[in-house]
Amino acid sequence: MAETSTAQQMLDQEMIARIGRRDQSAFSALYDRLSGPLYSLAMKMLGDPGEAQDALQDVFLQIWSRAATYDPEQSSVFSWTVLLTRSRVIDRLRARGRRSRVVVASTEDTLTGAADASTVESAADTVEKNDEAVRVRDVLNNLPSEQREAIELAFFEHLSHHEIAARLGQPLGTVKARIRRGLLKLRQRLKNL
């Protein structure tokens, strides 16, 4: 996470190392920290609570079995778990034989009305995480709209660059450049916050 402190990243890495040594309490702590954002991602892509929960279960069982293979040189723990989640969700979307039913919602939306009240995060224990999300949404919303659109189509709907180019009626090179510029700008602006 852009706003995740170095200390938090070190803590995450320590938790992963302990999980690699089969420490269930570390696993429980990491679940508490990451299940919300990862479930939110799975819900956004799959649009089905049952499937999102199954995907999340797969992801955490993968974390349990693969913690020893985590490489901090390649990504932060959070980004690694996001990669795992997208991978599992994409498998499910492929198995369904169709793309996500969920239209990429406006990034202004912070909570979905369709969500069960019991599943909506309690503000009290997630203030910090929501603050992070708000900051990222602000930055994403301030990207040029064509860059934001290309990133969201690629990230949440897992459209290929060819499919995005077809949908937007833009040349392939333009789409690639939008994704690249948008991601780099997003990262840079979050670093500067």
Partner: protein, 238 residues
Amino acid sequence: MISEEQQDQAALYALGLLDADEDAAFELELRTSAELRDLVRELREAGGDVALTAPSLLPPASLKQRIMGEIALETKRVVPMPTQRASFGWIPWAIAAALAVFCGLLALDRVRLERQLAQIRAVDPLMQTTFYTLAPSAPAPADAKATVAWQPGRQSGVIRISNLPAPQPGKDYQLWAVDAEHKDPISAGVVRVDKNGVAQIRFKPVEKAEHVKAFAISLEREGGVPKKEGPILLVGST
């Protein structure tokens, strides 16, 4: 210095949008450029940032119980080591039996780990690629080199060659897969370098190669040969 095209590919790679061929080719580039690896890491972090913009939800508490139950069950499946018994004359036999049990457990554990590894390989594209570094042997120039990214599941790979001058007229370079289950190397086709001695080519061996020990490049008659005839110029294993 990273070109704009490489940056574009890096962004698509970080989001998992490249197809299998592009993916393998880009991983070859990643191996040789620390700057590119840093960029991919940054872009992956940006991807993590994007994930945070999904509307915030929490999974039901029952899911955590379910997952914790699963891992507790798995932990219990690991049979504890036999405890030491009181010292009597039959202790050596008991130790031998314990060792036999322990060896059995190790064998079971190995099977379990192999199964886990297979599962990991099935879901992680990086784990499905094996890299081979090919070093020159006479008469190839000493600075000639090649790297192969091989995906056994797809039975295809990408080779990148550098510093290998074009062969004399009437000759071609040919790539071979040395497979443990085949007596002769399996042809993976002719590879042609450009005027700078560079090539990056996608290849597919003509026969199934499930246990590739090494890849090699030989100098052959123009158009290639079904069975290796010429001298090996580059060869290497994992």
